[in-house]
């Protein structure tokens, strides 16, 4: 028997003792976030505010995908289909009646065409849309997931991609309701940073609570070893369904936020480009890590904005480069390949950013197996009442 793993003595006890400082840290982080958002809300121009908002919306979607795919190991490429469903539902609810009239949307049922939220407080209308969007997406996910969640590996990926293509096809062709490729425009701009970050925090909270509960353990167990999980009584299909449906709900709820931020909904915005973007966020951060998903979302939202300047052309000494549109995509792609080569588990792997991670970081071992050394035990194994991971 080779190395005896190093052990933290009295880990259980310290977990419970650590609860108070952890809660304090979460409170501090939330306060800082609130201060930043208040500052941004007051002094940022629309462009910067939109970027800040998009970080939160993308984080919501990425966290939902982490729940659906990262925890269970069921790789879904259909997430953006739920985003589309939420976005269209939000738009159809909150469009002003004149844009829902017979002239524009002849296929819309009368009650929906007559449904008028223009008198509502914008934030109430938005919240309502998010809830309905989430519920519709979750309902669709239940129907779709029943059969699909029985598949595994690449087959789920392909089948969920099929779902995405079907949603896209319907959005493109059901002109009476979606206006087809033209999309819906004139969607009132209700989204603000508070709503977006509120939604993101709800998503993070929900994913985290599930993660540290029997549900989360069942999900991770079925990812780690499907057969062993079933042998200890885990109903794999049920736990995948929960991950899939909750993930769909959160994504569906993010849809109206996006629609009310961008002001229009069109099928092209909810297809492969967006899908791959979100998947890259999750993989970059570390599949299975909630904080990794948030970090990935932030990087993938900010980096293209930052890289835009690079495309404009530049002077390198005597050489003057003209505008190179597409360069930012190439740079991001190469960066992603490098990350995959040198850190295939993403930035965080399975771990969470939290007090525990900082405290417990041991000497790094060579190779990519670092996360299986006991000194780097995930900060995920937190018991109830432990707020260490956020």
């Amino acid at each position: 028997m080779a190395s005896v793993p190093s052990v933290r003595p009295g880990a259980t006890a310290s977990r419970h003792r650590g609860a108070v400082p952890a809660l304090a840290a979460v409170a501090l982080a939330l306060t800082l976030l609130a201060v930043f958002l208040a500052y941004a809300d007051a002094s940022f121009n629309g462009y910067r505010l939109q970027i800040v908002t998009l970080v939160a919306i993308n984080a919501t979607i990425a966290v939902a995908l982490t729940l659906t795919s990262g925890f269970t190991g069921v790789f879904s490429l259909g997430q953006i289909g739920f985003l589309a469903i939420g976005a269209y539902v939000g738009a159809l609810l909150n469009l002003a009646p004149q844009w829902k009239s017979e002239m524009f949307l002849p296929g819309l049922p009368g009650w929906l065409a007559a449904f008028d939220t223009t008198g509502w407080h914008p934030q109430v209308a938005l919240l309502f849309a998010c809830l309905v969007g989430g519920i519709v997406a979750a309902t669709v996910a239940t129907l779709v997931g029943m059969p699909l969640m029985r598949l595994s590996g690449h087959y789920v990926a392909v089948a969920t991609m099929g779902f995405l293509i079907i949603v896209h096809s319907v959005a493109n062709n059901w002109s009476g309701v979606t206006r087809g490729a033209r999309g819906l425009s004139q969607i009132p701009s209700y989204t603000n940073v508070w709503a977006a970050y509120g939604c993101a925090l709800v998503a993070i909270y929900a994913a985290w609570r599930l993660r540290v509960s029997p549900y989360g353990r069942a999900m991770i167990a079925s990812r780690e070893n499907l057969i062993a999980a079933r042998a200890v009584g885990v109903n794999v299909h049920r736990s995948r369904m929960i991950a899939f449906v909750v993930g769909a709900f959160l994504t569906g709820a993010a849809g109206p936020l996006l629609a009310h931020q961008i002001g229009s909904v069109a099928p092209s915005a909810y297809y492969f480009t967006t899908t791959f973007n979100v998947v890259i966020m999750v993989v970059l951060g570390g599949m299975g890590s909630i904080s990794g998903a948030v970090l990935g979302a932030a990087i993938m939202t900010l980096a293209p904005e930052y890289l835009r300047g690079v495309e404009d052309g530049m002077d390198l000494g005597p050489l003057s480069f003209g505008a190179l549109f597409g360069l930012s995509q190439i740079i991001l792609a190469i960066a992603f390949i490098l990350v995959m080569i040198f850190r295939p588990q993403g930035f965080f792997g399975d771990r969470e950013l939290g007090l525990g991670l900082l405290r417990r970081r041991g000497p790094r071992q060579d190779g990519d197996e670092a996360e299986v050394t006991p000194t780097l035990a995930p900060g995920l194994d937190v018991g109830p009442g432990d707020g260490a991971s956020r």
Binding site: L148, A157, A159, M161, N173, I337, P344
Partner: protein
């Protein structure tokens, strides 16, 4: 549907399926060995078509053009394997898939910068642009050539994988990489061979696609590779015969769906194709020709 229409669509579907098959074989080969769904395979196809375009512009005879295009894509395929994929061998499936996607995006945008976004007319030799009328059925020579070339290459490939040492090694590796290595098969050689053959077929597929469609552009690779991907799934991942069967099924499914669906529903074609795909997966998750060996417990 009248008999002549059926016949015409049949030839059409055969041609389309043949191109899908050539692309799908490359995907299946690499997948069988590396568990990598190589999305950048579509860009290899695109670069093969562009190579052919530029070599033809240089005034070379068409067969030389094809040969040079094949050599170009083989070089690109090997370079791709060396630069992007060798470093992540054995990584999780998702990491492999997304890396290939990143390679695809990089090559696409690189091509956009190098070749311009404007589609270019593909220099199909006039000889194969003809139309034949056989028994009231119009048949384009391009389709016939496509089917012929595809069948010839598939026959050659079959000979290769069954009759040569390297081919046998490839099959063995696809069956069980660990065992194959223990038996002294060099994994790298097999991988290089898979990429080389796949890329060569992709170049031919790119040229045939160019001839069929008449134009080439930097983004042309995505649709064929997506369809080929679906074909490999239908046929059973990693199975070369499965990929071919899947490709023809998809070709026929697409062509006949358009023909049979009422006009106002034909926009939903992809939805129908993918709904069918999902149904196939539900009833035969291992694909049509995939083996259903339960995981060893």
């Amino acid at each position: 549907m009248s008999a002549s229409e059926f016949g015409q669509q049949f030839v059409n579907a055969l041609g389309l399926g043949s191109i899908y098959a050539l692309v799908a074989i490359g995907l299946a080969m690499v997948f069988g060995i590396l568990r990598l769904i190589n999305f950048a395979h579509g860009e290899v196809l695109m670069l093969g078509a562009f190579a052919a375009y530029y070599f033809a512009a240089a005034g070379l005879p068409f067969l030389v053009v094809v040969l040079l295009a094949v050599l170009t894509t083989v070089a690109i395929g090997l370079l791709m394997e060396r630069v992007a994929y060798r470093g992540i061998r054995g990584a999780p499936d998702v990491a492999l898939l997304l890396t290939s996607l990143a390679v695809s995006i990089a090559l696409q945008n690189g091509a956009l910068l190098a070749f311009d976004a404007q589609p270019k007319p593909f220099p199909t030799p006039a000889a194969i642009q003809e139309q034949l009328t056989v028994g009231g059925i119009q048949i384009s020579v391009t389709n016939l050539v496509t089917v012929g070339v595809a069948l010839l290459l598939m026959a050659l490939l079959t000979l290769f994988v069954t009759r040569t040492r390297l081919g046998t090694a490839m099959r063995a590796t696809a069956e069980n990489a660990m065992a194959a290595q223990l038996m002294g098969i060099n994994l790298s050689t097999v991988i290089v061979a898979a990429f080389a053959i796949g890329s060569a077929l992709a170049a031919v597929a790119g040229i045939l696609w160019g001839a069929r469609v008449g134009r080439i552009e930097p983004l042309m690779g995505f649709i064929p590779v997506l369809k080929a991907f679906v074909a490999t799934v239908i046929g059973g991942f990693g199975s070369i015969p499965g990929a071919v069967v899947g490709a023809y099924l998809l070709g026929f499914g697409e062509i006949y769906l358009v023909a049979l669906l009422p006009g106002e529903l034909s926009g939903y074609r992809d939805a129908f194709v993918f709904a069918a795909l999902i149904v196939i997966l539900l009833f035969r998750p291992q694909g049509i020709l995939g083996s259903s060996e339960p995981e060893k417990i």
